[in-house]
């Protein structure tokens, strides 16, 4: 099992979710985060003093999937979340050792 963690722009969330649903992904978790990468933040002014807001708001989407779906999931996220401008985000892939469904106690790929 893999855990795909994608950091994307807020307004792309709906599209990405729909794309993943179409691939049969049945669950996911979203987290509000702040980050920066090549995209560098922006200047704000408060009471005459300029300062850099370094971290910009993004959504982090975590999706646990069976290994065989990895390729298509990555592709789906990458293509829907893309606008072509910097700040589009990144996807990180972790190995997931196991998963448990709390309601039933089941374990393994079947719970995803």
């Amino acid at each position: 099992m893999k855990m795909v963690s994608a950091i994307i722009k807020h307004f792309k969330l709906d599209e990405v979710r729909d794309a993943l649903n179409k691939l049969g992904v049945q669950g996911m978790t979203a987290i509000e985060v702040k980050g920066f990468g090549r995209q560098k933040g922006h200047m704000e002014v408060y009471r005459g003093v300029e300062y850099e807001v370094k971290f910009l708001p993004k959504v982090k989407l975590e999706v646990a999937i069976p290994e065989e779906k990895l390729e298509e999931v990555l592709k789906a996220i990458q293509s829907t979340a893309k606008t072509g401008e910097i700040g589009d985000g990144k996807i990180f892939i972790y190995n997931l050792e196991d998963a448990v469904r709390i309601r039933t106690g089941e374990q393994g790929e079947g719970v995803l």
């Binding site: 807020h10 509000e32 002014v45 408060y46 009471r47 003093v49 959504v59």
Partner: protein, 444 residues
């Protein structure tokens, strides 16, 4: 703190009937129509000044961090309570001692229970209001001076120390220096003019704010490695609510200072007040848009208050043109002043010093520059008044803050400052908001 509180309460208890005086039950209706009408006006003005306390509470809370919000709301709830009680107990009689030497007088502890026969509640007391209305209107004013300090010392002062300072400042300092002008003292005799308190209320509060901010030092993280790091306020809607309520309150602050419902004078005062507020907004917008390239809402809000503070000393002496210029300049001034005070490394989270002290001085001097009283002689007198109030208040604030610092300490611990005064002083947090659906166009 508890001990001091205990003492206060015991003291009040002891002076029990003495303090608040004989009670003879309700009084019979009186019936002068002019008094009735004017008294309605003065009561309305009192309500408006009262609501300024909510205005200050909202503004100060909005322009500071959410980890200190409970603390700020607490202080701003206590201040009108302390203000009214000390004013009843001795402040009113310090400020209006009757005939006195012009510098200090005291008409005794507690308020008499005035009677109609005694001439307190009908026309023989006054054509504009009863004794009670007089007390309540003046009492609401008194409390605003302490509130001004609250904003400048926010986010780092110990709660108990602030309460002790405020009690003395509003109970003793404000009425004594106030008596010099409004009590008929030496500055009044000299011809000093301050219609509704650009100096008597705002500068007095502003000087206290300046001394407090200097003695406390800046908030951790404000000035780092020689650079100014802005610490944005946590809720601009709250701050905006505060400023609108303050403008609303100013209708009573200035309009009530006519001390009667005289239609011509009151309505002129309201118009100059509004024109100055509007011009202050425009002035601050122009200044912040020019200097920072982006129009800063927090500055425009300060600009509105700057215009209001600026017109306060001469609201009844100006025409519309003068009111416009006084407000416009105040609005620009407050922006420059906020930036300058920051450069001087005096940390004033809400801009209280710029709004109340700088524009209070500006407004007081403007009486000698604009309007019906303009003239070199008046300007000089105004300067003397500004200086006298400055000197007296600075000395008084220095003494009180120093005493408090020596006995109880002024500032919370570094750890408490990081964690926030809400948890540290109150064991309570201001907000418990679950992370909710985002408002950045996402479906979460």
């Amino acid at each position: 703190m508890k001990r001091i509180l205990g003492l206060l309460i015991v003291a009040i208890m002891m002076s029990g009937s003495g303090a608040f005086a004989a009670e003879t039950g309700p009084v019979a209706p009186t019936a002068s129509l002019g008094l009735t009408a004017s008294n309605i006006w003065m009561m309305v003005a009192t309500f408006l000044v009262f609501i300024m306390h909510l205005g200050f509470a909202s503004l100060e809370a909005g322009l500071t961090r959410s980890k200190n919000t409970v603390n700020i709301l607490f202080k701003n709830t206590l201040i009108p309570a302390i203000g009214l009680l000390t004013y009843a107990w001795f402040g009113f009689n310090l400020m209006y001692p009757g005939t006195f030497n012009g510098y200090f007088g005291f008409a005794g502890f507690g308020l008499p229970f005035p009677t109609v026969e005694g001439g307190f509640l009908d026309l023989s007391y006054n054509e504009g209001y009863t004794y009670w209305t007089d007390f309540l209107f003046q009492g609401m004013f008194a409390a605003t001076a302490a509130t001004i300090v609250s904003g400048a010392v926010a986010e780092r002062i110990k709660l108990s120390s602030f309460l002790v300072f405020s009690t003395i400042f509003v109970g003793l300092v404000y009425p004594v220096v106030g008596s010099w002008k409004w009590g008929g003292g030496w500055l009044d005799s000299m011809g000093f003019y301050d219609f509704a308190g650009s100096t008597l209320v705002h500068s007095v509060g502003g000087w206290g704010a300046l001394i407090g901010a200097i003695m406390l030092g800046a908030r951790k993280g404000k000035y780092v490695d020689g650079k100014i790091k802005p610490i944005p306020g946590h809720s601009l809607p709250l701050a905006t609510i505060g400023v609108f309520l303050l403008w609303l309150g100013w209708f009573g602050f200035n309009g009530g200072s006519v001390l009667s419902a005289d239609p011509a004078l009151v309505s002129l005062t309201l118009v100059t007040t509004c024109i100055a507020a509007a011009a202050g907004i425009i002035g601050a917008m122009a200044a912040t848009w020019t200097i920072s390239k982006k129009p800063d809402l927090s500055m425009v809000l300060n600009g509105c208050l700057a215009g209001l503070v600026g017109i306060t000393a001469g609201a009844d002496q100006m025409g519309l043109g003068s009111a416009f210029w006084i407000g416009l300049i105040a609005g620009g001034l407050v922006v420059v002043s906020v930036m300058a005070i920051d450069k001087l490394r005096v940390d004033d989270p809400v801009g209280a010093i710029s709004v109340h002290l700088v524009c209070g001085i500006w407004g007081t001097l403007a009486v000698g520059l604009f309007g019906a009283m303009a003239g070199v002689k008046q300007f000089t007198t105004q300067l003397i008044g500004v200086g006298a109030y400055g000197a007296a208040t600075v000395v008084a604030a220095l003494i009180i803050f120093s005493l408090v610092k020596m006995t109880m300490g002024l500032r919370v611990s570094e750890e408490e400052e990081f964690e926030g005064l809400d948890v540290g002083e109150h064991g309570l947090e201001a907000y418990h908001l679950a992370l909710s659906p985002a408002s950045k166009d996402s479906g979460i």
